[in-house]
Symmetry: C2
């Protein structure tokens, strides 16, 4: 990973190139997932190890059943999460990150670090901006 302005150039060029190429931009595509309310929370929760449906629900209590099911289905469809049904008495279902899912953790981690490191400056900027208004 380089740094500085030239890096930005490389990124935006690749971004632009990718955008032009296969129709819809991969970055847009991925950002839509990452930007939604629950996907990354579930990925990070599953990063701690496989979990069952209600186990996930207990770990993330403020998600609705509907959104839990739907978000898991989407993650599964994208190949980030795999679903395993065990034929027990009441059938239990386990969700776990795939390799691809795991590979998201590091790049996403950089963003978490940035967010945690920058939030004070962002909030300060907001205060200043609103005060000037």
């Amino acid at each position: 990973m380089l740094d500085g302005v030239e890096t930005a150039q490389i990124y935006i060029e690749r971004w632009a190139a990718a955008a032009g190429a296969t129709g819809p931009c991969p970055v847009r595509d991925v950002l839509d997932k990452i930007g939604d309310k629950w996907s990354m929370l579930l990925v990070m929760t599953l990063a701690g190890g496989p979990k069952r449906f209600n186990e996930l629900h207990r770990a993330v209590p403020d998600i609705s059943q509907k959104m839990l099911t739907q978000t898991l289905r989407d993650l599964q469809r994208d190949g980030l999460v795999s679903r395993h049904v065990f034929d027990t008495k009441p059938p239990s279902v386990e969700y776990r990150l795939t390799r691809l899912g795991h590979s998201l953790i590091v790049p996403f981690g950089h963003l978490i670090e940035w967010a945690n490191g920058s939030i004070r400056r962002i909030e300060a900027a907001r205060k200043d901006f609103d005060a000037a208004r």
Copy 2:
């Protein structure tokens, strides 16, 4: 930057810690911005150097004037972008990334790399999933 599962643990712990601390989670906060339709496109466009309003509009033709203004205002409020008015004949306005704005480029770059490197596998997974349906 470490790698592997233990890294995930660190991230999610810090995430959880940050979430509990100052009310609304910084990561959620930042993700809302990053996940919106135009913010990151504008940040990456401005990474190439300062631009004027209509210059940005030409660089990103499918954004509406309304959303261009609004997104720039939000980025300015968060301290990622600064706005400079020049007292020329028809007053011109220049937007540029702040230091904070620049600092987003590298962590976000990791995500671009991941997206570009993973999109083929994601699309393949979607095809498989939809075929099984």
